[in-house]
């Protein structure tokens, strides 16, 4: 059992492992919404938009997490507002906003001391100096995000699945969208230390996409995504320690590998299952399938 306990000899490493578990579990839960609402690009944008906030915070000497949170929120709300205006397409608006913010961060960091090292740890993650305060903030953020997801489950699910019904029934659709973006931004902020700005989007997407391959219902998908997120975090943490590899990259690689396994082996949605099902259908219910296909492309 040495390989299990060895990485945890010093207290910093224990904190790092806790940070990784919190990050993975929260990302996996929020990730369910990222998948069904197709927010991957927005998630990537918010994580890049965090950079200038972090840099400014470290320049003026306040907490990096506060800087990140502020910048993440500004980016998330900016995206929501620009997307709503409808003047230019949403993806273009997002592209403009987050690359601009990211560039601002890169320029600002160039003026500080040991800029390169600092930039690298922000981009790909740095688990060596997770402070106790970081862990506490991470846990608080995570618990609040998960509590909000649980309390407003019905409302968030409805606006994700059927905005028209939600609006027709008088739900504040825009406010619920914005709330979800805020939760997304907070999750990203507490994840950056572990996996870095560039790789956060992988933790938001990959565990939940893996869960989607395995289950067909939203709540099981959210819970399974959360479990997978935490698990790949732990496995990646140990692998990185023993291989002396970068933790962020290793965690994401483990997540990608698990996704690959599910993609091939999932009993319902996997490549192998599809091949099997196709054969079965071809043999038994071909006429039914044909009839249905005919109805799915109605002549208007």
């Amino acid at each position: 059992m040495d390989w299990l306990t060895e990485p945890l000899r010093d207290v910093g490493a224990v904190r790092a492992l806790m940070a990784v578990v919190v990050m993975g579990a929260t990302c996996g839960a929020i990730g369910a919404y990222v998948i069904v609402r197709r927010l991957a690009f927005i998630g990537d944008a918010v994580s890049h938009g965090v950079l200038p906030g972090v840099v400014i915070a470290s320049l003026i000497g306040t907490s990096i997490l506060i800087g990140a949170a502020a910048a993440g929120l500004v980016t998330a709300i900016g995206i929501a507002v620009v997307a709503r205006s409808g003047r230019i397409r949403e993806d273009a608006a997002i592209g403009v906003l987050f690359t601009g913010a990211f560039a601002l961060g890169v320029v600002l960091i160039g003026t500080g001391a040991d800029a390169d090292e600092q930039l690298e740890s922000l981009l790909v993650g740095e688990l060596h100096d997770v402070t106790a305060a970081n862990v506490v903030l991470g846990v608080i953020t995570s618990v609040s995000a998960l509590a909000i997801l649980a309390l407003l489950h019905k409302e968030l699910l409805l606006t994700s699945f059927d905005r028209t019904l939600a609006a027709a029934q008088g739900y504040p659709v825009f406010a619920l969208d914005a709330l979800l973006l805020v939760l997304l931004a907070m999750t990203i902020v507490i994840s950056i230390q572990a996996v870095g700005i560039i790789l956060v989007v992988a933790m938001l997407v990959t565990p939940s996409a893996t869960a989607r391959l395995l289950v067909d219902r939203f709540v099981p998908m959210l819970i399974l995504g959360s479990v997978i997120g935490a698990l790949v975090g732990v496995i990646g943490f140990y692998l990185a320690f023993h291989l002396e590899a970068a933790s962020g990259g290793t965690i994401v690689l483990v997540a990608t590998a698990v996704f690959g396994l599910a993609f091939v082996l999932s009993p319902t949605h996997g490549v192998l299952a599809h091949r099997r099902l196709r054969h079965a259908r071809h043999d038994v219910v071909a006429p039914a399938v044909d009839r249905r296909a005919g109805h799915e492309h109605p002549v208007e």
């Binding site: 409808g86 019905k154 409805l158 699945f161 027709a168 029934q169 008088g170 799915e296 208007e300």
Partner: protein
């Protein structure tokens, strides 16, 4: 289903951006009426339904339920979207989709209770979906999918039903079941508005037809409105009429590009 209020539109215009899709619509629909909304593609059929719900990017004029603004009585309206508007890959089962119709009754934060589950079970049975209640919606046939959304509208316990192309992509059995259900609801006092491409069946089941093309061209019972001049005014050259015996078989042709001359 409750007795519907009188639904009235007063000078309702609606559209997207600078575009006006519908202009100055005046309609009064008494309770217990099935209205078929007929018009070519892009004529504003869906826009009319959404304008009643106040869901188009902009709309003006007023929509009144028994003389009161619709904004204060949203719970009296249920809406069934067009099939194309639904994300069929969403990880949700038929029963969970139907339960969404109860969310407003349940209220914020609270969980569905026994009464909600019973309402969902009853609606599923009524639409013969009990066997596939636990299936993911993308696995269902077109007819089953349409019935799921109709069941969802039922559990809302609204008295005005707005259905966008409910018969598109459904099998014969579903169509018969749905028509029977709509008639039952109508007889119980509900008002039903459905947009459709199928002129024949709309004329057969509707009490009133509403011909739309950027504005309301005609509104009235099929016997008075299902006439060549009104069809021509609505569809222009897009209508194909094949005379077979004494029956006029009509077909609205958006994609066919049918150019048969309209009857005079």
């Amino acid at each position: 289903m409750n007795q519907a209020p009188e639904l009235a539109l007063r000078q309702v215009s609606a559209g997207y951006g600078d575009e006006v899709m519908l202009e100055a619509v005046d309609l009064t629909i008494p309770p217990g009426t099935i209205v078929g909304i007929i018009g070519p593609n892009g004529a504003g059929k869906s826009t009319l339904l959404k304008a009643i719900l106040r869901l188009t990017p902009w709309s003006n004029g007023s929509v009144l339920l028994d003389g009161q603004a619709v904004e204060h009585h949203r719970d009296r309206l249920a809406y069934v979207p067009q099939r194309e508007a639904v994300d069929w890959t969403f990880p949700i089962t038929a029963a969970e989709t139907v339960m969404m119709g109860r969310y407003r009754h349940i209220g914020w934060v609270r969980r569905p209770g026994e009464a909600d589950r019973r309402a969902v079970a009853e609606a599923l049975t009524r639409l013969r979906l009990e066997e596939i209640a636990g299936e993911q919606i993308g696995e269902l046939s077109g007819g089953q999918q349409q019935r799921v959304f109709l069941a969802r509208a039922l559990v809302q316990e609204a008295s005005i039903l707005l259905l966008d192309e409910p018969m598109t992509g459904v099998d014969q059995a579903t169509e018969e079941l749905v028509v029977g259900l709509l008639r039952e609801l109508r007889d119980a006092g509900a008002t039903i508005l459905q947009s459709t491409h199928d002129l024949e069946s709309a004329a057969a089941i509707s009490d009133q037809l509403c011909f739309v093309n950027g504005r309301v061209i005609a509104f009235g019972p099929p016997s008075e409105t299902f006439t060549p001049p009104i069809l021509h005014a609505t569809f222009g050259g897009e209508l194909l009429i094949v005379r077979a015996g004494d029956h006029a078989h009509t077909h609205a042709g958006g994609h066919h590009g049918s150019t048969a001359p309209p009857p005079s």
